[in-house]
Symmetry: C2
Subunit: 674 residues, 2 copies
Amino acid sequence: MTTRRVRTGSRPGDRYVRIFRPTAGKFEQDEEHHLIATEAVFERPGMSGHVERLRRFMVGARLPSAMESHERLGVVKGLAVFASDNISSSAYATEEIMRVLVLAGAGALMLTMPITIAIVLVLIVVVTSYQQTIHAYPTGGGSYIVASDNLGPLPGLVAAASLLTDYVLTVAVSVAAGVAALTSIFPVLFDERVVVSLAFVLLICLGNLRGIRESGTIFAAPAYIYLFAIFGLLGYGMMRYVTGTLPDYVAPEEWGVSEGTSALGLLLILRAFSSGSVALTGVEAVSNGVPAFSAPESKHAQRVLIIMGACFVTIFLGMSFLAGHVGILPDPTEQKTVISQLTSALVGEGSPYHYLVQLSTALLLILAANTAYADFPRLSSILARDGYWPRQFQYRGDRLAFTTGIFVLTILASLLLVVFQASVTNLIPLYTVGVFIAFTLSQSGMVRHWWKLRESDRGWWRRASFNTVGALATGVVAVVVGVAKFALGAWVVLILVPVLMALMMAIHRHYLGVRSVLTMDEVPPMPKAEAPQVIVPISRLDRAAYRAVTFARSISPAVMAVHVSENTTEAEATYRAWEEWDTGVELVIVESPYRSLLPPLLAYIDAMRASEAGRPVVVVVAEFVPRYFWQNFLHNQAALRLKVHLLSRPNVIVANVPSHLWDAAAAKEGTGVR
Amino acid sequence: MTTRRVRTGSRPGDRYVRIFRPTAGKFEQDEEHHLIATEAVFERPGMSGHVERLRRFMVGARLPSAMESHERLGVVKGLAVFASDNISSSAYATEEIMRVLVLAGAGALMLTMPITIAIVLVLIVVVTSYQQTIHAYPTGGGSYIVASDNLGPLPGLVAAASLLTDYVLTVAVSVAAGVAALTSIFPVLFDERVVVSLAFVLLICLGNLRGIRESGTIFAAPAYIYLFAIFGLLGYGMMRYVTGTLPDYVAPEEWGVSEGTSALGLLLILRAFSSGSVALTGVEAVSNGVPAFSAPESKHAQRVLIIMGACFVTIFLGMSFLAGHVGILPDPTEQKTVISQLTSALVGEGSPYHYLVQLSTALLLILAANTAYADFPRLSSILARDGYWPRQFQYRGDRLAFTTGIFVLTILASLLLVVFQASVTNLIPLYTVGVFIAFTLSQSGMVRHWWKLRESDRGWWRRASFNTVGALATGVVAVVVGVAKFALGAWVVLILVPVLMALMMAIHRHYLGVRSVLTMDEVPPMPKAEAPQVIVPISRLDRAAYRAVTFARSISPAVMAVHVSENTTEAEATYRAWEEWDTGVELVIVESPYRSLLPPLLAYIDAMRASEAGRPVVVVVAEFVPRYFWQNFLHNQAALRLKVHLLSRPNVIVANVPSHLWDAAAAKEGTGVR
């Protein structure tokens, strides 16, 4: 430990000042005024030490800030984290289209393949335009950044609010969908689906608290198993198609699907298209998460985006193609998914491969939530950095994860799951509206971006037209989805987004206001140190009061004690006892005929404040610190209320003098009497 | 205003001390050190002023302590307050007996009158022995006082816990019963019975907040209307009996009551007796509330007790007699009460007099809760005075009512009403066990009391035998009721009472422990005032930090600033800016490689504490006070957590320097820079 007294400053009134630099164990000394805290500062005694060790066991060792670049993702883990959401849609995109078309009869299902191709084309446009976005914003170009950078802060907030809403829904919907798939394999779990869902959310939360890299490691397996299982299935199916040995599937009679085609209007086709466009969700995840990739960030992100698009398109096309040729029908009772029917038609119902496909699909659906866990906290931290969201979201926890965002996402998604009883049918109409709003804004922002660069970039026209097509396509989908799902629940999102925006703007205004009053343009010279007026409210003449008076005398010569009394006899007795104490401090008795303690005391302090004309008034509050927390209900009620009331009074400084008298050692240490 | 500087004390180091005595408006000066607060100290500006005026309108003007004796009750109001609970039982005691007897057939109902007489005899014994109690304890002899005074603290606590439980149940049961009676007159209210019940509880709460005297005034009418209506009815009935013109009531066929008598065992008779002994509830209320009567307290209380007993016995006997002779049967569907059947048989169904009886019964049942409102807060205050209950219960509010007890009773009773959906059937089994336990203990205590006085009091033997009979009678009823109702819910009470006792003993032990550590047997001379070591944690170099440093310098020459930084660049910049401030205070930078703010700061403060060997360490916390409460979520999170952690550290004094910078005037006032 280094302790040194130095004389600082040159003005009269400057004093010798002690510099205290403990170096033993908990700190390392860097230079004279600069200490570096070691991990030892986290050591805690007793119970909180155990809590701390449990926490380390759960989330892993602390990571120093310098490790940030090691915590990034490569292509393999990046694909698992950021592509899960999108690729998981391949498990049900074909089915969503068929489910709408079949309303016009089994014959209408021949449109499945054309609509699939149309969506694939939109997807290609969207992926390409996001490639451009990542290229233009190599340090991270989420919809919020692109929109606010090019279209202004308001569209940026629309994108941010839409995405935040959608990320919460993504977690709820994908976990609910995954658990639904799981309960169709293990029906015993059905009654416990809410609990199972919450357990999965907690598991993913915990994985993410360990840091994004570890969450990639933990949750990578299901994604890759799904890809291998499904590619194997589709490859086998295509082989049988080529050799002309595809089975001819016969749907159960009782589904009662009419053979012919009836009333296949444009509206139904549009609805099928909009249902199938869940295929596009998750595409923006990669561009939002660019800074999570290891260097070169944009290259890695672009590669993940391309692989993701390729995988998705292949599965989607293959699935729709084979489903059509095998003659799969969507199950109106929603018991058997299209993917399950196709698998059992090709490899046999109940075969191990059938189970593999079912189980990996279920797990991948659940892990699609992990993509939202990567993006929600990151977007929140960017919003907090820009002052639109509470500052806490900005800080990285001890595993470099954005802890606050992870917790808030977990709480909100869990609430949704409980309120909607983990029902996909109830949740899904709220989903996808937000993401398409963000898509459209981001694409439009990119058009504007290229327009601004038109002087320097010769290829701007080509790039801008790609993004224009993307903006139009996603804009149309946003409107179609919004209209089609409005009454079913999309209206909730359309109300929530403006509310969130208003909140963000209020927070921003507040932080700006605070900064403007707190910033000092020029720093006035330090005033001459003048001791403050001190008031010590005394309730009983006991050890706590003695300590308070001792402290008050140590900080100022101008000390007064005040005792509020209910009756004259007690007041007189207190005054006589006080005189015997001989503290050198005057006691004023305030008699309160209406028995209240607080109003007379506050009135006295206010009068003192007024008479001081700007000099701070220090109120020394003696506080008894009990051994157990519940005992606080038996104490300090008056002290607490006093402090709350004093908080709103400018120029009043409250000093708490605690008495830890249950602890004999602490009591001796803390008397202030040596 | 008087401000004066006097030199106090004679030891070196004593200083000139200012005595500040504001006298304008809010205080009157009594003598040199003694001010008396006027009502003006309650004046508040703005919103809280409106709240204050609303409160005065609701509960009435403040009453000074000197008014206490004026707030007492005479016989008329005392009967309304303390007898409502007991007298209201006369509305259903007969029915309770008949309801059990009829299980053995209509013939068994002939036992109604004998059982009524048996209960009346017990009641006479109990009333007489309580007369003795009041005589022996003229300043208030509730069961708790009598039991703890004569049998020891543990039986006292059994009585106290039983009574507290029972008072809460009394409020819930009587309001639920009254509202049930009300909804049978106005069936439209049935669906809203929980809300209606809560409204009545709130109304009685409000009445009691106005003080016990006003609650007597407000709630006296229903009690007296009931008495007049019921005496009129019984008188008219007796006249018709004497003239031999009593109607012969025929119960509806569909009630299907068998004519004969089957299996009328002793057990059934005992159950009928225990059901009818609800008649005894409320008898102890008067003796618990003696101090609420105006002088001579015991005379007034005794008179109320006698009148109450006489009224009750008359109604009970008359009701059972007439019900038997008219041939009333208890309605198995619980639609029509015995009292309602009797009224309609005598004066005609739906006649105005029938309505009068029904309505006044309903209101009286509700107002029986008022008796519990008189006793629960009073018993709580006595327990608080003896250190068995949180201290807050001891204080009288600005209307001299025991505000805390009133609020707590309201909250608990409301909870019960909500949980049990205001259903009398569900609540009643919990009721009456507690009251009979308390009865028995109080009677046994009185036996002991007379035994102790046997030397000086020649009539002790007579008195003691009265109380012995009372103790035996109530003890038997306690056991019978406890056994009969055990499985139905009485077990809850039998668990709750020991739990409450354990809590009371824990509170008592705690207060004793606190008193022993806080009391100073001899007061050491004041130590020489030595300035403390001060630490100012600095987060940003802004106006709030400037104010904190200014304050720190004003209370001690030993000041250090500490800045915890996440990265070296920021740390260096802060240090350079600090040097430009030229505060004369040294800044130590603590770099936190794991980004946490708190552990390094706490470790630094702990190291400082250890090096100070007992001298207090003052931590000056700059706090931004936002304009609206919700904005606190955007600020001070770190400051709050720091304060919570520092609270558990002996010898650390936290001084809050608030910045009210949103308020331009306050900002100017509060800079500390003049």
